[in-house]
Each structure stands twice: as structure tokens, then as C-alpha cells.
């Protein structure tokens, strides 16, 4: 009794309130997106908002259970949970059900679950566990290598299930490594590489090679002309050149045609309003037509009449933009940023390194989902199908994010018990 009492006394209510607000707003928008005058009941299990309601209630129950579990549990079983997730990911490759192109679903008892969603949580736990060891120094290559392997292993498995969006999310753990002390040069490289990739698609490859050569020459002239530096600069230059060519090759020969079109539409090489650009354009129309105050709850036409694709899952933000306008969109973006900053601040007050790194992992995953999902609806990022945390329709995603967040809330409330 004493323990339970302390749990509710010390949980961070800010996180809980923002979480509840997002879930409720998400549900209202799902309701609006699939609203039909002919279906009155909000608990009708044949329609999405009815199901989502059930998942929200089950999710809250899961969250409550997490809060009641012993504080040491997640730290102690972090690797076990990680391995369990990996096993599920391997199993799903062989036995999973294919839903809209991705073979990443388990189906039992009429519910489809995506282990990939839970693997993010498992990886966040395992990475935090690894980095929290006293002897771990991420600046050492060997340990950086181990950390990267922990991250990439589930990512590659998910990629093999053709769920590219979820696989990309694992790159968000760079923030955790950064906080753990990863060299800034490597982080900057991590940012520059995608930039070079985009440029290599937009501009003639040989012009890029020319520019890179000038930059290499610049480094050469201003560095100490040691053999080691010359070799290093030459290797980096050759590596970059190889990268430029391999990006081009990958896009034109490895990507599926529809993915290639999406990439080209996004970087502005193709304008195709009837094909791949259609979704993005319709998404912009829905959000843009909302104006300052929106069309009002259930009054959206673009989302209700299916002009926006996937309007209850990946494009749920369109309903927000159309029915609640700039005001509502601002509130949603603001809530996400508030949630993320709150998670970082709470993480920073942790005495346990495990809890802190786990907190950074939670923030990283939510941030990537937020950035990619809303950026996609605003046509700032390619169409990558990943859900908006707490908002999008879907049980796996909602439960996974709820668990992810509530484990962190549990860890935070546990900090007083560590005295």
C-alpha cells in the first residue's frame, strides 16, 4: 500500500495531462474523419472510432498496470524485453500477415498487432540499459559499435518487413547517443549525409563531385600537410563520391517505382497531381481550406468525403487542420512540442542514468514520428507512412506509445524510491 501511494504522489501530471489531451483530441478527429450521419452510436465496434475508443480504454489500463509494476522491473528486464521484441520481429517475417504491402502484422483474436511498434520501446530500454552501465563510454569505437548494432538490428528486421517508415524511426536514437556523449562531428555527419543524398538526386552528380573536390582542396590547404591528413581527406572524398553514386543507383534501381516517384515529387523533380503528388496535394488542400478557425467539428468536407487518403491513420492531422483551422493545428503542434520538452526536462532530473537515457529515447521516437507525420501532411517531408503518436487510429501504435510513455512516467516516479 505504501508503494502504490507513492506512485501516484510522484508521477508527473504534466505528462499525463498532455497525454490525455492528445488521446482525446485524436479520438475526436478520428470520429470526425469517418463520421457518417447514418452511424449514430459512438461505441459501435464496426466503425473506427468505436474500436479506437476500446483501444484507448485498454491503453489506459496498460498504462495503469505499468505504473503499478515494480520500479526496478524495466531496468532489470530491459534486455529480455528487447530480445523478446527481436524474436517477434523475426517471427513476423515468417508467419506475419501482409496488410497494405507490409508483412509486419500478427493477427490473433481478430486484432492485428505490429511488433515493430513495440520494438521501438524495447530498443529504447535496451539502449538505455547499455548506456547506463558505468564502464560504457560511447566515445569508444567498440561501444559505439555495440550501441549502433542494438539500434540497427530491429531497424533492419523491420525494413525487411517492408515497413520502411518504422525502420527509419530508429535513426532517431542518434539523440540518445548524442546526449550520452557522441562526438559532435559524427552527429553533424549524420545530418550532412541526408543533405548530400538529396542534393545528389537534384543536381548533376559530376557538379557535386566538383564541389566536393573544391571543399576537399580547401581542407587540404588549411590542414597540416601530413600524410595522414592527405589520406584521410582523400578517403572522405572518395567515400562521398561513392555515396553520391550509390544514392542515385539506389533511387533509380533499388526503390520500387512508386517509391521513386514519391521521392521525386517531394524533392520537386516531378509534379504529378493525379498520381503520387495527389495525396500530398489533397492533404494541403484539406489543411489549407481550414483557414484561421477551421470549418468546425464534423464540418470538414475533404476528409469526410475521402479526398484525403488514410485520413484516420497517417493523415489524421488533415482533419485537425480542416476542422479546427490554424488555431487547432497550432494547439496540436504546441502540445507535442510541450510534451517533448517536458520529457527532456523530466529526463534531465533523473538520478538514474537508465531513466534519463530512456527518457531521451522516448522523446526521440515521439519527435521523429511527429516531425515525419506532420511534415508529410504539410508536404515538407516525403510521404512516409508512420502514425502520429496518440492521435492516429490503430491499436498497436496507440498501445506502444502509451507503454513507451508510461514506462518513463513510472521510472520518473520511481526516482524517490532510489534514495
Amino acid at each position: 500500500m505504501r508503494e502504490r501511494h507513492s506512485v501516484f504522489e510522484h508521477i508527473d501530471w504534466w505528462l499525463v495531462i498532455i497525454f490525455l489531451l492528445l488521446v482525446v483530441m485524436g479520438w475526436l478527429n478520428i470520429y470526425a474523419a469517418v463520421y457518417d450521419e447514418n452511424h449514430g452510436s459512438i461505441v459501435d465496434m464496426h466503425v473506427k472510432y468505436g474500436k479506437q475508443m476500446a483501444w484507448i480504454l485498454a491503453g489506459l489500463f496498460l498504462g495503469l498496470i505499468v505504473l503499478l509494476i515494480d520500479g526496478k522491473f524495466f531496468s532489470q528486464f530491459a534486455y529480455l524485453i528487447y530480445i523478446f521484441c527481436i524474436l517477434l520481429l523475426i517471427a513476423v517475417i515468417f508467419t506475419g500477415k501482409e496488410i497494405s504491402g507490409s508483412k509486419s502484422w500478427f493477427q490473433f483474436a481478430g486484432i492485428a498487432l505490429q511488433p515493430g511498434e513495440f520494438a521501438k520501446m524495447g530498443t529504447a530500454l535496451a539502449l538505455a540499459k547499455f548506456l547506463s552501465k558505468n564502464e560504457t563510454d560511447i566515445r569508444k569505437r567498440k561501444e559505439l559499435f555495440v550501441a549502433i548494432c542494438l539500434i540497427l538490428f530491429p531497424s533492419v528486421l523491420i525494413f525487411l518487413e517492408h515497413d520502411t517508415g518504422s525502420a527509419i524511426v530508429f535513426f532517431s536514437f542518434i539523440f540518445v547517443l548524442y546526449r550520452a556523449g557522441l562526438s559532435e562531428k559524427l552527429v553533424i555527419g549524420f545530418v550532412l549525409v541526408p543533405l548530400l543524398a538529396v542534393l545528389s538526386l537534384l543536381i548533376n552528380k559530376f557538379i557535386i563531385l566538383g564541389f566536393l573536390f573544391i571543399i576537399a582542396l580547401f581542407f587540404f590547404l588549411y590542414s597540416k600537410r601530413k600524410i595522414r591528413n592527405i589520406i584521410l581527406i582523400s578517403l572522405v572524398y572518395l567515400g562521398s563520391a561513392g555515396f553520391v553514386f550509390s544514392v542515385d543507383y539506389a533511387v533509380n534501381h533499388i526503390l520500387e517505382p512508386h517509391q521513386r516517384v514519391r521521392v521525386n515529387v517531394l524533392i520537386g523533380k516531378e509534379i504529378d497531381l493525379k498520381g503520387a503528388g495527389y495525396n500530398v496535394n489533397q492533404s494541403l488542400i484539406a489543411i489549407g481550406s481550414g483557414g484561421a478557425w477551421g470549418k468546425g467539428f464534423l464540418k470538414g468536407t475533404q476528409t469526410k468525403y475521402n479526398f484525403v487518403p488514410e485520413q484516420s491513420t497517417d493523415f489524421i492531422f488533415c482533419t485537425v487542420g480542416e476542422e479546427w483551422g490554424f488555431a487547432g493545428s497550432f494547439v496540436v503542434v504546441g502540445l507535442f512540442i510541450a510534451l517533448l520538452i517536458r520529457i527532456i526536462l523530466v529526463a534531465e532530473r533523473q538520478r538514474s542514468r537508465f531513466s534519463r537515457f530512456y527518457g531521451y529515447g522516448v522523446a526521440s521516437i515521439i519527435f521523429f514520428h511527429f516531425m515525419i507525420n506532420i511534415g508529410m501532411t504539410l508536404s515538407l517531408i516525403p510521404v512516409i507512412g508512420i502514425p502520429l503518436p496518440f492521435f492516429s487510429y490503430g491499436g498497436s501504435s496507440l498501445w506502444a506509445f502509451t507503454l513507451l510513455l508510461f514506462i518513463f512516467i513510472r521510472q520518473d516516479s520511481y526516482r524517490y524510491e532510489l534514495l
Binding site: 546526449r179 489543411i287 483557414g291 487542420g321 504546441g334 534531465e348 515538407l380
Partner: protein
């Protein structure tokens, strides 16, 4: 140890804020600054559906329905919804090739994959019957009702005219018309377009992404209803029109009949003609091209209004009136006829044999050329007119007051002026003031440059029967309601000849139909007909047969002009046809079956052509 890196939280939080701010700015631009998304959104969900009103009907003077509407159907296609269509069956029903099908769907897709385009227009009700049973096999296709013009009788094609899709030149200047709308292109359909078309309505519907109807926009607040077109009551006598077309079969020419007391056109026949049902719907384009390319029959040419003929001897009644008005002619004026009027250079205007001298009344009855050359010369050369030119202008003005040389403003498009040459014309031709009455003497007997349309001839007959006035000839006597008369047509036009000069001409025209007159063979028992024959010389072939007439002599009910091209003397074709028309109109039945039969069977179509060669 990692406390050293605690400051890195500011970098991470900073990055979150930068992304959040970037998204808010982006939202601000698309939601508040740009307005194109609102337009695109409306474009996505709102469908403006035109409600086409039924076009007004046209009735004849006795209330017979002449022009009406029949349901027709446009087959529409929404390319995005086209799935598992039984293509072979659809092609068979529409009688099109498989490649046409593919082409049309592709064309529609290029317009919009989500919106309806016309796949096949104006399918008749019979064909739609076959189609309707099988529509479920053609997903993505649906039918939109339209109307087709239909004609109860295959008559008066030129008068009714036809409708067709409004072209880009119309749409550009008149915002009422949109692509796909119909508009009257000729005839009454054109001149009464605004009354007949009614008013289109508009329904605004909300549709989903598959173009499925989701109800009306804001409860129909912005919808407008369609108003049916106004019906027209024509002055046409459908039976008389049909009878006249039957009489004119196998001939080129025209019959125009007018009710003198009102100016109402009783019939207006142009031959050769065509069945107005040919220029309706899908078949219009091909049939129109066929009619247009027929350079021998020229069936699209509306002779009644547009063909200009020299009036020949029928014009003598005009000179008789003008001569009296000017004061150079009295009923007692007699001229000796030596078989022609000498032109001075050894030539003469020939006359046929008759007793001589003739007075005014006899001169019309026997149609003496010499008499009217002298009358014409005395008008032009009358002093104190200061010159030939002044005399000619007096004559011309009086002639034009009888309805010649200008348009009436009739309510059928295409009317021509005809031609009463101006003094300037003769100045140009002969040199200024270097022409005398002798140079233009043929005008006196209705030959030379003079050109009169059949409508103008009929109007002359009406004017004489009224003893000096006429009403603008018109085909539509009421719009909408039977007593709603067009005010323009109630204006009485009084000519420049005083009423006192008419009785002698009327009596003379009556004599024409009596023993010894040129129209005697065509007289009708029990009806006092007044008439005048004419034979117009035709440089291209055999003379045109012309006749103007009215009946009864007192309280006239009908004035008729007939022109039969290349038919010879006025008495041979034009006079019998005109009197058959009068008999038909007044007695409602024709007793002279032999005359009727010989007129109907007379085929003169090769006469002009042979001589042309």
C-alpha cells in the same frame, strides 16, 4: 560523468522548437495567407449541376402542336469509376467500335478522372430503352436526361429553323450559355431564342472522392430552379403549309400567304425543302452537311425571304398605282399598242396581241407591255420634275413605300432587302445624269435590275387588298398566352398611294380572273379572287412563273404570292397554285382535283439545270 553533456539538452530542445516553429509558420502560410486551398477544396466537393428547362412549344393558328420536345439522353462517363464494363455489349448497343470506346474514355479521363463527361450524346428514347436494362453492367456510366426537338409534321423547316450546341463565339459574348447548352441557330428558334429557352436552374451537390452524391450543399440554400421556356402561338396554318409544300413538290420556288388584316403569315413555303426532323440531335451534323453540300437543290436556301426575283408583269399594278398618285394616269388614260414599245434604236419591248387601245383597267387585265412602258416613261419624265433623276426618285420612293427594297423586320431571320436600284446606281452605270427614262424603261414592266422577294410580293397583294396599308408580316402572333400579341406587329403601315387610287386596280385584278383575263383558267367558283400574273425573264433558263393574288375581293382573308422557277408563263403554274391555296384556305377543301393533280405531278426540277449547261 555524462553531466558534462547536460548542456546538450538545450541543443535537443532547441531543435524541437525549431521544427515546431517551422511547422507553425508553414501552417500559417497555407491556412491564413494562401486562399487557393479553399478554392481547390470547393472544387473537390461541390458539383454544379445544370437543370435544363424544356424548350417552349410552338402551335399553329388553330392550336395544333407543331414543335415539341422529346426526352433524349446523354450517356455520361466517370472514368475513375469505370470497372469491369461489358465493353463489347456497350459498343454493340451504341453501334461504335471498341477503339472508339477506348478513345472516348481516354478523352474523358484527360478532362477529369473524377467528373462526368459526355460519352455519347442525345440517345433517343427507343435506343435508351435497350440501354437502360443493361446499365448495371456498365459501372462508371450514367444517363443524364436532355430534350430533343421534334416536329409533328415534316413541314416549314426553314421557318422553324433548328437548334444546336452553343459555339465558343456565343459563349464568349453571352454569359448565359455554357459549353453543351443548346441555342436556336436559325428560324423561329433563333429569333425567339430568349423566350423559347426558358431559364436554366442550378443545383449544387456535395460529392465524395468517388463522385458519389452526398446531398445538397447547405440544404439547397444556393440552388436555383429551372423555368420552362415560353410557348409560341404561330399564325401558320399547318394544313395550308403542308398543302403548299405538296403543290410545290418537284419545283423550285416559293409560296407566301398573308392575312391582309393583320399581316399574319398563313404559310411560307420554300421548295426544295427538307424534313425538319433531320436536323435534330446526333444526326444533325451529318444531315446538315449533306443538305449544305447539295449545290443543285440548295435545300437550306430560304427562297421565301432570300431569293430576289424580277417581278415581271405583276409589277404593272405598282405602276398603275404610282402613275395615278403622281398624276400622269387616270382610269381613262388610253395608250395604243402597236405590238410593242419602240426603244428608238430599231429594238422594241414586245407585246402580245390584244385589242387596242386599252384603258387602265383593261391594261392590267391584258397585261399590255406598251401601256406600262408609256406609264413609266410619263412618270419619270413628268415636268415640273427637274430631271430624270428627280422623276426616278419620286417613283422609287413611292415604290419603296409599298414594301419593296427594304426589310420588313419579320420575325424569321435571313430576310433580304430585294433591290429597287438607287439613282446613284444608274449614275455609276451610265454616267452622272447621263441616263433617261428610256434607259431604264424595263423597270416599268418589272424587269431589269429590280429584285423582289416572294414575301414582298405577298405583302404587295395584301396591301392592295387593304386598299393602301399593310402590317409587318410575322409568323408568331402570341408569346406565352394567346392574347399576348407582339406590339410591333400592330403598327399599321400606310403606303404613299392615296386609297382612292386602289379600287380601279382591284377591279382590274378581278378582271384578270374573269373571261379574257390572264388568270381565267385558274378561277374558283364562289370565291372572288383578284390576281395578276407575271413572267419574269431569267438569264439562266426558262422564265419564272409568278402570280400575286388575294381573295375575297372585299373583306380579303388571304393574300398569296407564288413563284415557280423555270415554269414559264405566270398563268401556267403560279396562278393555278395560288388559287388552289386560296380555295384550300377559304373553303378548307379543294374541289378542282384535276388542277391540283396536274400541279402536284408537275416536275420542273431539271428545267433550270439543263439550260444552265
Amino acid at each position: 560523468m555524462e553531466r558534462v553533456y547536460a548542456n546538450r539538452k538545450f541543443i535537443v530542445i532547441g531543435l524541437f522548437l525549431v521544427i515546431g516553429l517551422a511547422y507553425v509558420i508553414r501552417l500559417f502560410f497555407i491556412q491564413i495567407v494562401a486562399d487557393k486551398y479553399v478554392l481547390s477544396a470547393n472544387n473537390n466537393v461541390l458539383r454544379y449541376i445544370t437543370q435544363y428547362p424544356a424548350r417552349g412549344l410552338v402551335y399553329d393558328r388553330y392550336g395544333k402542336l407543331l414543335v415539341y420536345n422529346e426526352a433524349a439522353y446523354d450517356l455520361m462517363v466517370i472514368p475513375k469509376q469505370v470497372k469491369n464494363v461489358d465493353t463489347a455489349e456497350l459498343c454493340r448497343l451504341l453501334e461504335i467500335e471498341k477503339k472508339d470506346f477506348v478513345e472516348r474514355v481516354e478523352k474523358a479521363r484527360n478532362y477529369s478522372p473524377y467528373r462526368p463527361s459526355i460519352f455519347e450524346s442525345q440517345i433517343t428514347r427507343e435506343n435508351y430503352g435497350y440501354l437502360e436494362e443493361k446499365m448495371f453492367r456498365f459501372p462508371g456510366f450514367f444517363v443524364q436526361p436532355r430534350t430533343l426537338r421534334k416536329y409533328t409534321y415534316p413541314i416549314a423547316a426553314h421557318t422553324f429553323g433548328y437548334i444546336g450546341e452553343a459555339g465558343p463565339e456565343v459563349i464568349e459574348i453571352n454569359p448565359y450559355y455554357k459549353s453543351g447548352d443548346y441555342i436556336g441557330i436559325s428560324g423561329v428558334e433563333k429569333s425567339y431564342e430568349e423566350q423559347l429557352r426558358g431559364k436554366k436552374g442550378m443545383k449544387i451537390r456535395v460529392v465524395d472522392v468517388l463522385n458519389r452524391d452526398k446531398g445538397s450543399f447547405q440544404g439547397g440554400k444556393y440552388d436555383t430552379i429551372a423555368y420552362t421556356g415560353t410557348d409560341l402561338y404561330s399564325s401558320l396554318d399547318a394544313d395550308l403549309q403542308a398543302y403548299g409544300e405538296q403543290l410545290m413538290a418537284g419545283k423550285k420556288g416559293s409560296i407566301v400567304a398573308i392575312e391582309p388584316s393583320t399581316g399574319e403569315i398563313l404559310c411560307i413555303i420554300t421548295s426544295p425543302s427538307y424534313d425538319p426532323n433531320l436536323l435534330v440531335g446526333r444526326i444533325r451534323r451529318t444531315n446538315y452537311t449533306k443538305l449544305l453540300e447539295d449545290s443543285i437543290m440548295v435545300p437550306l436556301f430560304n427562297r421565301a425571304l432570300m431569293a430576289s426575283y424580277p417581278p415581271g408583269s405583276t409589277f404593272k399594278v405598282v405602276d398603275a398605282l404610282v402613275g395615278q398618285q403622281v398624276g400622269v394616269l387616270t382610269p381613262e388614260t388610253r395608250y395604243f399598242c402597236p405590238g410593242g414599245f419602240p426603244l428608238g434604236n430599231g429594238k422594241k419591248v414586245a407585246c402580245h396581241s390584244h385589242f387596242s387601245p386599252l384603258d387602265l383597267r383593261q391594261s392590267i387585265q391584258h397585261s399590255c407591255n406598251t401601256y406600262y412602258c408609256r406609264v413609266f416613261k410619263s412618270i419619270i419624265d413628268k415636268r415640273p420634275f427637274t430631271s430624270t433623276r428627280a422623276g426616278y426618285e419620286i417613283w422609287r420612293n413611292l415604290v419603296m413605300s409599298l414594301g419593296f427594297g427594304h426589310k420588313f423586320g419579320i420575325d424569321i431571320p435571313g430576310e433580304l432587302n430585294g433591290n429597287i436600284p438607287s439613282s446613284n446606281y444608274y449614275d455609276r452605270y451610265h454616267g452622272k445624269n447621263r441616263w433617261t427614262s428610256m434607259a431604264i424603261i424595263s423597270l416599268g414592266i418589272g424587269q431589269g435590275e429590280i429584285g423582289i422577294t416572294p414575301l414582298q410580293m405577298a405583302n404587295l397583294a395584301a396591301l392592295i387588298s387593304n386598299r393602301g396599308f399593310y402590317y409587318t408580316p410575322h409568323i408568331i402572333k402570341a408569346i406565352g398566352k394567346k392574347d399576348n400579341l407582339n406590339k410591333e406587329f400592330l403598327v399599321k403601315h400606310v403606303c404613299g398611294i392615296d386609297p382612292q387610287y386602289f379600287p380601279i386596280v382591284v377591279e382590274a385584278m378581278h378582271d384578270v380572273m374573269e373571261a379574257g383575263g390572264t388568270g381565267f383558267a385558274s378561277r374558283v367558283d364562289g370565291i372572288e379572287i383578284c390576281g395578276k400574273t407575271g413572267t419574269a425573264q431569267n438569264p439562266h433558263g426558262k422564265n419564272h412563273s409568278i402570280f400575286i393574288s388575294f381573295a375575297p375581293k372585299d373583306n380579303p382573308r388571304i393574300a398569296v404570292a407564288v413563284v415557280v422557277e423555270n415554269a414559264g408563263f405566270g398563268a401556267t403554274y403560279a396562278a393555278p397554285i395560288a388559287t388552289l391555296m386560296i380555295e384550300k384556305y377559304i373553303n378548307r377543301e379543294v374541289k378542282r382535283k384535276d388542277v391540283e393533280q396536274s400541279m402536284i405531278s408537275g416536275n420542273l426540277l431539271n428545267k433550270g439545270k439543263v439550260i444552265d449547261q
